[in-house]
Amino acid sequence: MHNDIEFRSVTKNYGAVTAVSDVDLQVPKGAFLALLGPSGCGKTTCLRMIGGFEQPTSGTVLISGREMNGIAPYRRPVNMVFQHYALFPHLNVEQNVGYGLKQMRPRIEASEIARKVALALEMVRLGGFAQRRVHELSGGQQQRVALARAIVNKPAVLLLDEPLAALDRKLRTAMQIELQTLQRELGITFVLVTHDQEEALSMADLVCVMNTGSIRQLGTPQEVYDHPTDLFVADFVGKTNRVTATLETDGRTLRLADGSALNVGERRGMTAGDAILAIRPEAIRVDRHAKPGATGFQGTVTNRIFLGSTAEYSVAVPGLGDFLITSDRRNLHESELVEPGQTVFLGFDPTTAHLFPVSSSA
């Protein structure tokens, strides 16, 4: 099984600023990889280095096993869907989509180009739009033209630079499903850049979380969500409640700021000292009263946000701060709806909550 994309200790500097720092990355053939991170984390620079628009300062980028250093974008077997689509305004839809095929050498016959373009437009459900000018199309349609323009060339890798950012919510969800289906049908490796964790988790089968120029975690969406390797990943991929605490020398007793203690079980890789307990909002159960033997905190509901199928609560716990809790409505009977001002018990399992050393937040 060879890799479609490989980064070997790739660094990219802009003057004194390091955008990407010593990144190693392997993307297997046919994968759907999401580069996820806040703006300025280096994800777009990585994408542009695959596309050939930027050259690494040091290290090597390989595509399909071939070294790509110094090779111009027009000689690379990859195509990109640009954030603002970058359609050619003086060409119609058909000419836009056929542009890449027209450049190929040896030349492809015009009839063959027309056939392939029609097929690609059919694939993105723009069958009757071949003769339209691009400025006559809506944002979603332009987006699909940009997609067709890239996939029609059957690249080894398709690069997507925040392709859904400019679309409204409903269209975005529809395109997410379309992109996933397309990727499965084509079997092309997709590399998606996004700052939207929901987008990354829902579409990709491999998520690469980046921050300040380096990779924090690479894994399946479930891995990065359920087993974040550090506090940054835990925070960025989904919401987290943080509780500052101290791990005692026995390695299993956690002393909280309010003086209480929790048994967090055996933790590998954790040494005694300052630590942060990270609890997912949906891992907390809201009850009127503490169940016998349950672990948790007593607090007061300060706010409730009704979201339809779920509800979000803010609960102030004396000595520990505010907690965010997501409550699934299926588990909530009418009588259990909690009102702001009420005192509740927040129950959770301390042995499954994440525990990180304090220094991992950077």
Binding site: P73, M80, F82, Y85, A86, F88
Partner: protein, 277 residues
């Protein structure tokens, strides 16, 4: 307030309207309208000196505007690739070239050319194998050079504005779709900036065609149309001059309206197409 504005416009346009009106006067005298006639147009077009001056002006305007369009566009593309600071310097110099008074450009070009010729002509004579060495002097070449240099700045500024609005994205996109830099220029950049280049050409043409001051300094023995008009006015204003002035006015207006039409802002339904990253 309204009356003042009206008076201002009257002051601006009434003389021009009079020139046009009197060009159709059938009488010889410029002070009284006798009747309608196009005889002065016929008279003007059959005057060999005038036709010669018109031809000179057209050749100079066409050549200098063509050169300005080509080199101005090249300069605009080159400037796009410079660093921020160098570009700012060149942008400043471009604007300066446009605000320098014509009289200064005229004198400066004349002095520079005379110096150059007095250095080159003996040098050419020294290496010339025959007995009659060619002698460089003022004429077509010097007017074209002076006009071309000046109007190049105009073209560069117009094309630069268009290039800047193109954005890096569609050039990257073309490159991503296997187009070499040359193909990208031919297929993507050129079609986008062509209207601006043409607009620049038309403005350069108008400028060169209308210019008197610079041509006056560097024309040598050549006479351009504005120079002819100036010279013949000293023998009194004839309706013939009015006819020429009207022709020049209409031609200039048409060219400028065309240039304006070519550089108008295109309204797009969706801003995304031309949006910059």
């Amino acid at each position: 307030m309204r009356a003042l504005v009206f008076a201002l416009y009257l002051f601006l346009y009434a003389p021009i309207a009079l020139v046009v009106l009197f060009s159709f006067n059938s009488g010889r005298n410029a002070s009284e309208l006798v009747g309608f006639s196009t005889q002065w147009y016929g008279r003007a077009l059959s005057n060999p000196f005038l036709m010669d001056a018109l031809q000179t002006s057209l050749i100079v305007a066409f050549t200098s505007a063509s050169l300005a369009a080509i080199f101005g566009t090249m300069a605009a593309i080159g400037l796009e690739r410079l660093g921020q600071r160098t570009r700012a310097v060149f942008d400043g110099l471009l604007s300066a070239a446009i605000v320098v008074p014509g009289v200064v450009i005229g004198i400066a070009t004349l002095v520079a050319l005379v110096e150059l010729f007095s250095f080159l002509n003996p040098a050419i004579a020294a290496v010339w194998p025959g007995t009659d060495p060619p002698k460089l002097g003022l004429g077509y070449g010097s007017i074209v050079a002076a006009h071309g240099l000046f109007t190049m700045a105009l073209v560069t500024m117009i094309v630069r504005a268009r290039l800047a609005s193109l954005g890096r994205d569609i050039i990257d996109a073309s490159s991503d779709l296997y187009a070499t830099p040359l193909t990208t220029f031919r297929e993507i950049v050129l079609p986008q900036i062509a209207p601006s280049i043409l607009a620049g050409f038309l403005l350069a043409f108008t400028f060169s065609f209308d210019d008197f001051i610079i041509a006056f300094f560097v024309a040598g023995s050549r006479t351009t149309l504005p120079m002819y008009v100036f010279a013949s006015i000293r023998r009194g204003i004839t309706p013939e001059i009015n006819a020429i002035a009207t022709i020049v006015l209409v031609a200039s207006l048409v060219l400028i309206v065309m240039a304006r039409f070519l550089t108008r802002e295109k309204k797009l339904k969706s801003g995304a197409v031309l949006q910059k990253a």
